[in-house]
Symmetry: C2
DNA sequence: CGAGATCGTTACGCAAGCGTTTCGATCGTG
DNA sequence: CACGATCGAAACGCTTGCGTAACGATCTCG
């Protein structure tokens, strides 16, 4: 069963969640960082820099920098691939999982509160 | 009737829309800018810099700068309030409405394609 | 074994956003 | 009419992210 919304509900949902996200989390991930984080946690591993860059349609340094900053926040981790030591495998963390769990809760809450 | 979602659907929706937004729009609004834009278009006017700052929980220069950059993109407009010339009233534009219409379409489409 | 391809990272110069502080313009009120 | 309050914007120094172009490390394969 898919999620059905009217245009007003769709934008209202985005509005309410964005607003609460801005107010609640001071660390303010960019849209790109958010897309990367969600991709890492929702798509089956393994994840590499190159594959993420291709998926997002951006250059590799963008991914490297995003992993730098999100790694500093403890949201993701990097491990060298021992099978092919050129690769870096991106790992999930407990903190990252909790961060996305909070986001998911906000989306569900706000969705529930939307008018018809 | 509210919008009901499972945790997996909520994050899946955010993931799919963020990903498509990154790939489609090169101009990459920040989360704050997006929240401001949605607020201007979804909440009844008038909107002022000060009120927006209070709503978002940020300082006034943040709003000024966001309006600068989104104004340069044609997504919003600024008009001096003739009743109280200290105020600036933020106006919607056709381009901004179309931008959000595209976003709304993406949200609806991705919501529809979500698995159970 | 060695030349070329591929991996992620780093270096570089630049643009954009931040928070704090200050500013000019305008209003309200005594 | 003048003084204090309030509005949004500008100035300042700083941090972060960008795209392009390189780089060292590692793998592949003739």
């Amino acid at each position: 069963m898919a999620v059905e919304m009217t245009p007003s509900q769709a934008l209202g949902l985005w509005h309410a969640v964005s607003l609460e996200q801005v107010r609640a989390e001071s660390n303010d991930l960019s849209l790109r960082q958010m897309a990367i984080l969600l991709h890492i946690y929702l798509v089956p591993p393994p994840h590499t820099v190159r594959a993420l860059a291709a998926t997002l349609g951006v250059t590799k340094p963008v991914i490297t920098r995003a992993l730098d900053s999100m790694g500093a926040l403890g949201l993701v981790d990097r491990v060298r691939d021992e099978k092919d030591r050129r690769n870096v495998v991106i790992k999930r963390t407990l903190k990252g999982a909790l961060y996305l769990e909070r986001l998911g809760d906000r989306i569900i809450d706000r969705g529930r509160q939307l008018p018809v």
